[in-house]
Symmetry: C2
Subunit: 263 residues, 2 copies
């Protein structure tokens, strides 16, 4: 349990150019942050979009739907709407997202952008390079934008992380009446991603942000990464859409009846 | 569509005392913020806990489970665990939360704290009083802490708001290739709530935060409030837990078979 700083500064510099396959992202991010510099305990937040572009994850795709299918490990829920079918799926990273995280905006016509192969590894590489360049202890978070169950609108979440306490486990702490805080585990990395979105915006051009004031959450080692934010299947009470689970129940019951007809 | 600031400051002053029923929350919050003052476009973020306390929402409850039942409009999912049953429910505010938002931490023994009766109204009252006192245009967000489907850890969300563009609709904007941004509606108020949690922490004592730098999202009128963040039932693909929906499917199919046995 850590007591965080009571003051944050969050900024997103203008001036990052287009990023392409093979570009040295750490150098580009470092150049962008050079003017203000980095301080010990800073968290550098980078969108998965530029990480993917630097890692050459732009692929030709005549059909975005085919690209989504290729990235899908498991369909969670689908809904037919006026322009096609919305698919909420689990992708290779374990993330439950609309369209598997396949992005067709801000990419050239006829191409789509896939998520980084291993965003935690991308975060570790960026962290090492930036720590080396600026000579400070820092953390890196890689973000993507995702919808939520039950709530309207999208927020940014952490899909990669290095050097940040992604989950702050307050269990073992006490409240102001001295009773144990029993169930509070804060998703710090997702809150950092959300805060950074407020300064980055969505129209492009500001894919990098710095969050200063969270040194208490910055760790010496890289840590387990954002992967630990993915809820294990056996603890996920919303593993299927309600309609899909219901339909499966109906089908199973009918199959059962067919197998064992009443005498 | 608004282009947000590229720099935020977020802080949470120490020094808020205990809040009790009938306390003038606007005065207490104003006193707390007096030293640094408020600027035009600031967002004042207050936890639902102190709003509830000031509004006298502490109720005697021999049994927390009974209090949860009373606040529940609809059970979404349940799971039996070592210490009892976890209930994910929809409460009177339309919020899907564990334990209906009933809080038994940081309250005197034998009592629980209910959520504010109408957090959007609470936000509007606070906004009017603070705008009057400080003579600036500001927004107010009332937060609570909630779990998510699919992801570990809790984040703060907005359950009340006044004067903030809670959803920033980017549809109609264009990406850097000039193509329309089709599906992006950002849940600004939830991102503000998340950012504020990073400076407030969970151990109590800092229930108020200020987010400066979002003037582009602060509106002249109070707006629709955080209620618009609640996804309407007919668009909610996760209205029931997977196990609950599956069981309902099985039961419905069996009832159907019982009504119409094969000849």
């Amino acid at each position: 349990m850590t007591r965080p700083s009571s003051r944050l500064a969050v900024w997103a510099p203008d001036g990052m150019g287009e990023v392409g396959p093979g570009d040295d992202l750490a150098r580009l991010v470092g150049d962008l942050l050079e003017a203000e510099g980095l301080a010990d305990g800073d968290v550098v937040v980078v969108t998965s979009k530029v990480v993917s572009k630097a890692e050459g994850r732009v692929v030709a795709a005549a059909d975005r739907e085919d690209a989504i299918t290729a990235e899908t490990v498991r369909v969670v829920a689908t809904r037919v709407h006026a322009h096609g079918t919305l698919r909420i799926v689990e992708n290779r990273l374990g993330l439950v997202m609309a369209a598997a995280g396949v992005d067709a905006s801000n990419t050239p016509e006829g191409t789509v952008l896939l998520l980084p192969e291993d965003p935690d590894a991308s975060a570790r590489r960026l962290r090492a390079a930036l720590a080396d360049r600026f000579g400070v202890r820092l953390a890196v978070v890689v973000t993507d934008t995702a919808g939520r169950a039950w709530r309207e609108g999208l927020t940014d979440i952490a899909i990669g992380a290095a050097g940040l306490r992604v989950l702050d486990d307050l269990r073992g702490g006490t409240d102001s009446h001295g009773r144990p805080l029993v169930v509070t585990v804060t998703a710090v990395a997702d809150e950092v991603a959300a805060a950074s979105e407020l300064v980055r915006g969505k129209a492009g051009g500001r894919p990098v942000a710095v969050v200063r004031g969270l040194a208490a959450h910055v760790t010496d080692d890289d840590g387990p990464g954002a992967r630990v934010l993915v809820r294990p299947a056996e603890q996920d009470m919303f593993r299927e859409g309600s309609a899909e689970a219901y339909a499966r129940g109906v089908a199973d019951a009918r199959a059962d009846t067919d197998r064992a007809p009443s005498a």
